[in-house]
Subunit: 93 residues, 10 copies
């Protein structure tokens, strides 16, 4: 498995009806927890004061990672930056 | 404990003697492993193709984190970016 | 308590009705003064010519700070940048 | 008095002799504390992991502020960004 | 009096009715000329090819400058950057 | 005559002998005052805390302006940004 | 005559009716050819894959150039960057 | 034939009807495959987590490349960056 | 195998002896051709006018890619940017 | 022939002997005039106040352009940005 640093920014349009936004956020939260349980999201944090998060995601390759990200309920409103990570010698002992 | 995303770039001057650079890198690696063992560095990765790394560090507050970073053997040659991280609702259940 | 430098930019959509904008701004001002009285906002300034401000905020950790910021009446229209601050040796004597 | 947000980055050349660097840093610390006592530096913080600081400085005008900054012992090695600050309505009551 | 370099960018929404835009622009021009006559705007230039201008503004302090800028008829559609200016030794003789 | 906004940053190498730097700065100051007297530099300000200045320069065309700037004693150590300015309708009455 | 490097980006709103967009583009093309015939646009190129162009424009001064640019049929939807050009010694012989 | 690195970002407006977006995406996919078959698109990749792609395109010159790109069904919603590529000595043997 | 877009910038210090620079460049060229023969570098191009190149590299994972890049003879003088690439539906049929 | 917009920045190290710098600049000027005479450099301008120039260069393809640029006497001290240009419909009639 390859680990990726994934930085996600959410921007919902201001004219989206509140119930639609709430339903999307709830679906996103459920899906996020499934991905944690499946070991795809290994850690995730909120950037304070924002609707951004950073996380450590695991996938066999970038194509698999893309499929997971593109399937998120909020994907059409996300800006996603992906950085592939290599093993660091501090951990490699 | 607070978690921080820490992005570190190392730039050694090209005219540093090889034995000095090697000694500094070895000391940095030893110190890094101590910090892993002490739970300060929770995870760390190499950005492929570079002398940069990103890691998840834990400290009681930014002042304690600064003391640890400023004490790294390679500190005079590092550029460090620190981002304080908040708990994400996906993990908070 | 940890101190944070918080830079906030407000952008209201031009088609928001004036009374809604006025009510939001009044609620934000009231909430801001409560946060000053509670010691959460220690200082705050207007960047001249803009709808931006910078302030010094105090919280136990980034998660608490996020909760306060995300609860601001104008939060959906804010862009927020948070920088965690460490003690400086000039003040540490 | 006008308040300014001042962001200072220190970059000492790697080939400066250690005793010179130490003497300059000690002189800067002494001068910094004089400026705190004189009410010119109202607050100052270290950006963790760096040789940067941010502070709130007070002066009658930008010319006076420049004179103080240009007189710092480390001035030739500093990059300084100055932002003039206006009163915020949250504090103006 | 303190002098400020003020860079202003105007962006009117494309769906603003032409008569509203014309009325706002005429009011802005009148107010601009009042500010020139009052010595607040000391010089102002158009950046060619754009709806941006740069000018030299004078005020007792940033709070007074903000009040003037925030009172411009076009203020809701302006992006304003303010730089406080110090006396230069070439002019100080 | 065309007016230009000129932003100049000076960076002297740290290993320049002090007497050379002092002589260059004195020559630059003398030349600057000649340019003020000649009406080429119409106004000039220090950016506080820096070795940068902004000024309003006048020349018949960019080629003439370049000749003046390239003839400054400190030119080899300057970074210069030139913006050609157009008449603004506020002043054009 | 002064030559200017002019970089123009066109962004039409997606909800502009096709016939309006077509009419504006045709008027812009006609006006562009008039400006070529008049010697104002000396050369112009498309940046491939974009709705941007770069060109060499000639005018007596920035104010005259602004008048021409502000009179383009598509001006309200253009972002324009103007760089004043000086004679180069390679050509000056 | 000249090879170009082409970086394409797609941003569909959120209020585009789903059937229109689906039809456009299907047409784009068909056209993309035609361009692969014709040897114009030599390789193309998805940037994971995004609606961006990078590809290696071949054309006789930038004008031909522009014609192909401007003819894409999704062109009005694309941001395209084109970099002309030269032969590298590693391959030139 | 995973494909990566790799952008490499070479900056040799101006005071490196010419024979050392020539030897390093020759070794880099030999190593580059080995990597082409081994299928690690699938394509590589020169960015015209620069000492930069972009290429398509293949590796099992970012750690393997890092090992190859860090082993290049010119590695200490390279700035490397790595982007992990996913399969694009145009090619996936 | 393909036309390219070429932006060149020259930065000579401050410790280069004056006679070497003068000889290089003279050789560059001679070579530049040869390229003008050969129709490779179609136009070239100085950016006022700088050691930068922009020009319109012509070549059969990016590989040929690179060979010309890499052969400039000052090439080791140049930063070069190349933009391939397409025919614009205003000129295409």
């Amino acid at each position: 498995m390859i680990e990726f640093l994934v930085h996600i920014t959410l921007r919902l349009p201001h004219d989206m009806p509140a119930e639609q936004a709430d339903a999307l956020r709830a679906a996103e939260l459920r899906r996020g927890r499934e991905l944690v349980d499946a070991g795809v999201i290994k850690r995730i944090w909120r950037l304070p004061g924002t609707t951004e998060n950073v996380g450590i995601w695991a996938a066999h390759d970038p194509t698999e990672l893309h499929a997971v990200l593109a399937g998120l309920p909020l994907f059409p409103w996300l800006t996603v930056e992906v950085t592939a990570l290599a093993l660091h010698p501090i951990e490699d002992r």
